[in-house]
């Protein structure tokens, strides 16, 4: 699927650009993508190394298992197929906490950590498990209670009330997260029945 999607994105872009006469912008965009990818990865390198290091301590000390056990009553509804004392629960909780607190830079490494734990439990090496789909549903929905980037941007552009968007953002993010979880559940049931 990802193969086709990638092809469609690139080809339809090229065709539209040919029609528009904007090939010049396309080649600039390609070079920009190449250098942006390096910048993005370098900016990810520090947080990734840092949080993987911190999470290793949490794991060795069995703190992740403890967190997972404590939040089991909530997690078992959202992630029914993760075993009770599995470190995956702890990593998921850390990822969700970082998202909710608006710690964007930390949420990605912690989410990847959680994905690695889930991959350990996955029966297929290259196909997403149901738990992974649920984790991704929450992460792509952008669950957050503190939109810190936006509040800073608004303050920087001279807003008198930079944080007035707090309530509206929480409302919208709750709607998108609940929608994601409902669709995730729905598609999960559909594909369980198929197999």
């Amino acid at each position: 699927m990802i193969n086709i999607l990638w092809f469609i994105f690139i080809i339809s872009g090229l065709i539209i650009a040919a029609g528009n006469g904007s090939m010049e912008q396309i080649s600039q965009a390609i070079f920009k993508a190449i250098s942006d990818s390096v910048n993005l990865s370098i900016s990810l390198l520090g947080p990734m190394a840092f949080w993987m290091g911190i999470m290793s301590i949490a794991e060795k000390s069995k703190l992740t298992e403890l967190i997972g056990r404590l939040l089991r009553p909530i997690l078992k509804y959202i992630f029914p197929d993760i075993p009770t004392e599995d470190p995956a629960s702890g990593a998921i909780v850390m990822n969700l906490t970082a998202n909710i607190l608006g710690l964007g830079n930390s949420a990605t490494p912690l989410g990847i950590k959680a994905m690695k734990e889930l991959q350990r439990l996955n029966n297929y090496s290259n196909r997403a498990s149901f738990a992974m789909c649920t984790l991704l549903a929450i992460n792509t929905a952008g669950l957050t209670l503190i939109p810190s980037t936006l509040i800073s941007l608004r303050a920087a552009s001279g807003s008198k009330e930079p944080s007035i968007i707090l309530i509206t953002t929480i409302f919208a993010t709750l709607v998108s997260t609940i929608t994601a979880l409902l669709f995730d559940k729905f598609f999960r049931i559909v594909s369980e029945n198929k197999s």
Partner: protein
């Protein structure tokens, strides 16, 4: 920012670090060695996801530079008028799931053009703040563990982006108009 938010923002990471390190010492873990070992793992992970970031950025930058967005917005104009959505925020519906930096700079442009405290300014901030860059998150998270079959994840991500977009318009009209 209001006091409680800046307190949460500045205290949460130090507190988490404090707690994890103390718990590690309490459980007699060699925290320094374990930390550096884990950090090395993090560097490997970053290198592993680089190809996915590169592939995704190329596709997204091409589609963005092609002017496809303008065609879609023009095509949707009748529907936009019908649903009474401010035309200026429509590009966010398409930019937001594709590219975090592009949608953030478009939001910054709207804040400049209309003012951060205008209706459009508040609406754009809400849309931008309430959802995530679906394509980036999928490529990076799945790329990191070598998953090629995303199943229904992309569909769920995009459906939730659409729901968030309309929820933002609804709540902003209710509270700010």
């Amino acid at each position: 920012m209001p006091a409680f938010i800046s307190i949460i923002s500045s205290w949460s990471i130090p507190l988490i670090i404090f707690f994890i390190l103390s718990y590690g010492v309490f459980k007699k873990v060699n925290i320094y060695e374990v930390f550096t070992e884990g950090a090395r793992e993090g560097i490997k992970t970053t290198l592993n996801i680089f190809p996915f970031i590169l592939a995704m950025l190329i596709a997204i930058n091409i589609i963005q530079a092609s002017g496809a967005m303008d065609i879609i917005v023009k095509g949707l104009r009748p529907l936009i008028g019908f649903l009474n959505i401010p035309v200026d925020v429509i590009p966010l519906l398409f930019l937001r799931p594709l590219s975090g930096s592009a949608s953030l700079s478009y939001t910054a442009y709207l804040l400049n053009e209309y003012g951060p405290d205008s209706f459009i300014g508040k609406l754009a901030s809400t849309i931008q703040g309430s959802t995530e860059t679906t394509f980036y998150v999928l490529a990076v998270y799945f790329g990191a563990v070598g998953i090629k079959k995303y199943r229904y994840s992309l569909l769920v991500g995009l459906l939730s982006d659409i729901a968030g977009f309309f929820a933002a318009i609804f709540i902003c009209k209710l509270l700010f108009l």
